[in-house]
């Protein structure tokens, strides 16, 4: 190809354009997916070519430009650089997608630095680069409107990118304009309630009336109007995201027929009218359980730091601890799923980096809740991204961030429900390793406030308060500024520096640190300086571009920034370390500032005072009103309970008879439907995109078995390569048992999730007395007493579950505004969702087992009794069968832990060849997974199933009774296993035998042969639905 424009014009800086195309004949792996989508949207397209575009603004002569093209941006072997803007193909159209000015574009940044390094005479600040993508659609006859619509849906997100239907080559790049200081004040003292609420909404403060009144009264007493930056600081600090005000509030709770002994619970009192007052819900339930467990060993010495720091810390071995945090990033992911998910995991990683005196991240987890991918595009409410694209993009976001940082993403789950349509949930977790003597930091007055990592820009303004808002059809426009795009390498470099600073030979170069997350500097410095005060010089923060106001600098949630408290005599060494690793460093002021004896925050900009706030008011001034909560199953159930058409299939409502009269075919089709239900189906498409092996610690991987395609219950890692000690990571999510299911109850949903998380890590080999758990509540708005009532039920279950299983909660997080109002005013609330994450210690990883069946001749035992309840099961959701027991199953608080202990003991004695959690899809789905993962045939006899009542075949196969395990036992060890189970009082029975064939058969004495299916076909059925 040859140049089409662009003649020689030396020395003046202008924008040059280079297209990078594939060499003729080279395969284009990215064109295929675009071609398919383009054909579906635009009709006959004969081919798609993709290319990358580099726009370089600098004073370049033609020789320099040629070198950039040949040596830097294009590969010498399989690509061809094309200077200038080549026209759209004669037989079709072209679409270009370019990042908007100011949006983080890591490739542009790296290219800019590489260009400056190539030409020593060219200063870095004289080079600007932007990048874009071009798609040539051959044979395309669509008009501009159709092209633009297609691009918006499939190629670009217009929140951060612009679409061009002609080659884009601007004369020059748009620059930010200089900022002129104007200190603003907010007249709040004379506002009435209506005025306060108007201000709260319009200024995106999202404070309640009580809170706005408290702010007004504080400034009335002070006799002055607040500066704008003060109001913003208060709004960030008091946001739900930062302070968890709902979970920490006092609650008056009503329940028609109280099902629990509330009076005996810590922080609970029963009032004369029968209502229950709960002081600080979190402290009285979740944290109370941990406190109680920590009163005795082993938890007293095992739990090192809980609910205090950025993550929870437990002891790993005699020299190190592990810390864990799980976050959500729901609203940003609804608007820009890729950036939202990437910065979700990025922020959680920073929480771990900012724990104690800094931990080294060793693993990530991720869980997504989305609507069914088949959701009809036409049915999408305005402002909602199609669920398939949401899932693709959030996976890409987690992949690109985790992989680039070199942290293995090892555990996760996906849950599908139609009501996640407008409000997808993105949970991201991170686990770190930290030396025992580095678990705590203390900020000292006189320490310099040092910020490291990314520069500050206008991205992510109001993210913390935005998380408290309800989404609507206009949220994408209104909150575009809350979107953040990450740059994982900036964070990796920052991590490299922080760990070296922590491990400096003569002691750490800092006294404490935290990440800049929600609320940016305002939260980070506000938190670190809580007890000592701080003086902050906002003008010294390095900016991505000029024009930011001091308030924007203060509250920006630009990514990859950490704040450190550094003793003055160590500042130079830290600066030198940053320079050696090309990490941005800035001195933002000093910790330690008191006025009238009180720690105070003093904010200046180029010497002018712009804000002054009492730390006491900032952190303790938030009013704690009593919130009303009520619970009764009928009140929380959505009138339009959508059991039907969950994923595009018409349920056979109530039609199934109680016996399997249609014989083989019915069980076969039910099993196939369940294995292909997206909740149960293989997630290999996601897992294989994550590097789960980096750092070399993977012992039990997310996919296991002969073909690396069986679903592991949990992952096991060996964080220290010279030690056999490991950690197991698993999770529990039982959304199907919550209030959106008829008869559902978040109390039992929560216990089932705890039981499942424990089952998962126990199956992999975790030691039962060293399991820590985390809670992540995602609820609709809890100013609705019914939703808050459901949240209370879940919190009470956390207390009961943690004590029963002796699994302390060590950290948690909540996200409580997950609902969406459509353009026509319809409210969509998410199902109450509680993710339980479990972290267990594995004393010796060589004792671990996997879920895949190992050998013919071994027995398959089911541990734990199966109940008749089918409510909330996947069987019920696909059939709508109301002829059987519709109640939801309940966890038994002594049987559950007993069964877990029995499995742990059998594994510890080396008596099991495999162990598998029996959950989604019931016994038959779990047994099928074991068989096809191991490529070992299995003959099941339903008569061996342990149960307290007589079960019909359907219930025996598909009930999702909790606290059950499937284990594989060699013939020579069967007696020992059975004896041990008898002694432990665990109901058990042999439900099958592994065989030399490659089939799964099921029979029972009464009906004979019920199923005879090929393992390969079952595996394909399970693999296909999400094989994207």
């Amino acid at each position: 190809m040859t140049a089409t424009t662009d003649a020689a014009a030396p020395v003046d800086a202008r924008v040059h354009r280079i297209e990078v195309r594939l060499a003729p004949g080279e395969p284009d792996p990215f064109a295929g997916p675009v071609l398919n989508e383009a054909r579906a949207a635009l009709g006959a397209i004969t081919g798609v070519e993709s290319s990358r575009i580099y726009l370089v603004e600098a004073a370049l002569d033609p020789a320099m430009l040629q070198r950039i093209a040949d040596e830097l941006v294009a590969d010498a072997i399989n690509q061809r650089p094309v200077p200038g803007a080549s026209p759209a193909p004669a037989d079709g159209a072209s679409i270009e997608v370019h990042y908007q000015p100011g949006v983080m574009d890591p490739v542009a940044q790296s290219t800019r630095e590489a260009i400056a390094e190539m030409f020593p005479g060219l200063a870095l600040d004289r080079v600007e680069v932007r990048t874009g993508f071009r798609y040539d659609l051959h044979g395309c006859r669509a008009d501009a409107d159709a092209l633009r619509k297609f691009a918006e849906r499939s190629l670009a997100n217009t929140v951060i990118q612009d679409i061009h239907l002609a080659p884009f080559l601007p004369e020059c790049f748009q620059q930010g304009s200089a900022y002129t200081l104007r200190v603003g004040h907010v007249a709040i003292r004379d506002l009435d309630d209506a005025g306060l609420m108007k201000m709260s909404r319009e200024a995106h403060l999202f404070l309640s009336l009580d809170e706005m009144r408290a702010v007004r009264d504080h400034y009335r007493a002070a006799g002055r109007d607040p500066a704008d930056i003060e109001i913003e600081t208060i709004a960030q600090t008091w946001s739900e995201h930062c302070v968890h005000k709902t979970l920490k509030s006092t609650i008056r709770y009503r329940e028609a027929n109280p099902s629990l002994d509330y009076a005996s619970r810590p922080g609970h009192s029963v009032n004369a009218d029968g209502s229950i007052t709960i002081q600080n819900l979190l402290k009285s339930t979740v944290a109370a359980a941990t406190n109680k467990l920590m009163q005795s060993e082993p938890h007293r010495s095992w739990c090192i730091s809980v609910f205090k720091d950025n993550s929870g810390i437990v002891k790993f071995d005699e020299t190190d601890a592990v810390c864990i945090k799980v976050e959500t990033h729901n609203h940003p992911s609804a608007i820009e799923p890729y950036g939202g998910a990437a910065t979700g995991i990025g922020g959680c990683i920073r929480d771990v980096m900012g724990t104690g005196m800094a931990a080294r991240p060793i693993a990530n987890t991720n869980v997504f809740c989305v609507a069914f991918p088949q959701t009809d595009g036409a049915a999408l409410p305005k402002g909602v991204i199609p669920p398939r694209r949401v899932l693709q993009q959030v996976v890409s976001g987690v992949r690109d961030y985790g992989n680039r940082m070199g942290i293995p993403t090892v555990n996760g789950a996906v849950w599908f429900h139609p009501d996640y349509l407008a409000n997808p949930l993105v949970f991201a977790g991170c686990i770190g390793l930290i030396p025992l003597d580095k678990c705590f930091g203390t900020v000292k007055p006189g320490d310099r406030i040092i910020a490291l990592g990314g520069r500050t820009g206008r991205d992510g303004i109001h993210g913390a308060t935005f998380s408290s808002a309800e989404l609507t059809d206009t949220h994408a426009d209104e909150f575009a500024h809350a979107v953040q795009i990450g740059n994982a390498i900036t964070q990796k470099k920052t991590l490299d520096v922080i760990l070296q600073a922590r491990d400096a030979e003569d002691g750490p170069l800092f006294n404490g640190l935290t990440d800049c997350g929600a609320g940016g500097f305002s939260s980070a410095i506000g938190e670190m300086g809580k007890d000592v005060g701080a003086r902050v010089t906002l003008d010294t923060a390095p900016l991505k571009y000029q024009g930011l106001s001091y308030t924007e600098i203060w509250i920006s949630e630009a990514q990859e920034r950490m704040t450190l408290a550094v003793p003055p005599d160590k500042v130079d060494r830290l600066r030198a370390l940053c320079e050696s690793e090309n990490v941005e460093f800035c001195d933002l002021g000093e910790f330690g500032h008191r006025e009238n004896g009180e720690p105070t925050l003093l904010l200046t900009y180029h010497g002018t005072e712009v804000g002054r706030l009492s730390m006491h008011f900032l952190h303790d001034g938030i009013p704690t009103p009593t919130r009303e909560a009520e619970w009764g199953q009928e009140i929380v159930q959505s009138p339009e309970s959508r059991v039907q058409s969950q994923y595009g299939k018409t349920p056979r409502s109530g039609s199934s008879s109680s016996t399997l009269d249609s014989g083989l075919r019915t069980l076969d089709s039910l099993l196939s439907s369940l294995l292909s239900h997206p909740n149960i189906a293989s997630k290999h498409w996601i897992i294989r995109q994550y590097d789960h092996e980096v750092q070399g610690g993977a012992v039990i991987k997310p996919l296991v078995g002969r073909g690396q395609d069986g679903p592991s219950d949990a992952s096991v890692l060996r964080p220290k390569l010279n030690s056999p000690r490991g950690i197991a990571l698993g999770c529990g999510l039982q959304t199907g048992l919550g209030e959106k299911t008829p008869g559902g109850d978040s109390y039992w949903m929560t216990l089932a999730a705890i039981d499942e998380a424990v089952r998962n890590v126990v199956c992999a080999g975790a030691s039962l007395d060293r399991i820590a758990i985390l809670d992540n509540f995602c609820w609709p708005r809890c100013d609705d007493p019914k939703q808050l009532g459901s949240l209370v039920r879940a919190a009470e279950a956390c207390y009961d579950g943690a004590l029963a299983y002796r699994t302390p909660f060590v950290s948690g997080k909540d996200s409580l505004s997950n609902q969406f109002t459509t353009e026509d005013g319809r409210l969509i609330t998410i199902p109450p969702t509680l993710l339980i994450t479990a972290l267990g210690i594995v004393p010796d990883v060589t004792r671990c087992r996997t879920m895949d069946a190992k050998s013919p001749g071994n027995s398959l035992l089911l541990l734990g009794a199966t109940g008749t309840e089918l409510g909330g099961s996947h069987y019920h959701s696909i059939t709508g069968d109301d002829s059987r027991d519709r109640r939801i199953p309940h966890v038994h608080l002594s049987h559950g832990p007993r069964n877990a202990a029995a499995v742990a003991a059998l594994l510890d004695r080396g008596l099991l060849r495999s162990a598998h959690d029996c959950s989604d899809g019931g016994m038959l789905a779990a047994a099928a997974e074991m068989a096809f993962a191991g490529r070992v045939g299995l003959d099941i006899e339903l008569d061996g199933l342990p149960s307290e009542r007589e079960l019909d075949d359907i219930t025996a196969c598909f009930a999702e009774t909790p606290s059950r395990y499937l284990v594989e036992v060699e013939p020579g060890k069967l007696d020992m296993v059975v004896n041990a189970l008898r002694q432990a009082g665990v109901p058990h029975g042999q439900v099958g035998r592994f065989a030399g064939h490659q089939r799964l058969t099921v029979r029972c004495a009464k009906h004979g042969r019920l199923l005879d299916a090929s393992l390969d076909e079952l595996r394909d059925t399970w693999r296909k639905p999400l094989d994207w």
Partner: protein
Amino acid sequence: MKPLALIIRTAGTNCDRELVHAFELAGADTATVHLNELIANPRRLEEIDLLGFPGGFSYGDDIAAGRIFANRLRHRLDEPLRATVARGVPTIGICNGFQVLVKLGLLPEPDARRQTATLADNTSGRFTARWTSVTVPADTACLWTRGLDTFDLPIAHGEGRFVPADDEALRRLRDRRQVALRYVTEKDPKPQASFPGNPNGSTDDIAGVCDPTGVVLGLMPHPERFTHPTQHPLWTRMASEWLSQTPAGLRFFQNAVEHVKAGRTQPAMA
């Protein structure tokens, strides 16, 4: 005295710790150096016996995997690096390290002094992490894979499709016995391998190549992630003896350390 291995890292390198561990298990001492520091003090290369370019996402894989790292080496360290290789210092580039060596032109034909092959996007168009079976051509010149036959290693990359400049370049590779490792495919005559399949569409199923002398190896699979028996994905299916065997990945590093101990490298000219 133990041989000294130098591991070069930079912004976005993330497999340096396990590479250090692998060299140490094999009997070497190690030092890890940031590229900036090495540029400032290139004479450090004169003190070393082994050299490693770890995996990761140097500079974020921005533009193309390994491109920016390779350009920085070409502009700032080309001669010291060539001198190190010329005195026979066993050098390994794994994954991103392989991409760097190929884009720098140090592999597969250092004398060409230009890039003669590339590592392009996987044909799937996506990053893939899985274990895969690989086999060592019996006649390879490579010292790192000596004595190894067919075994499993993990891959984790999005740009691993080995593409030689042309058929002639491929023929030269074969003639000079520079193919160090191939993916085992379903059509392969050795079907006993656990996870057959060319995971990225590489020409001739090439997973790794060496320079004509056999001391410089670049490969997409990660031998440093298979230095303990429990890293293998099927270890829970193996008999208990498995836990006491030497994993194939570790053998790479043992081969290199033995090569140095046997005195097959030359000291740097003072």
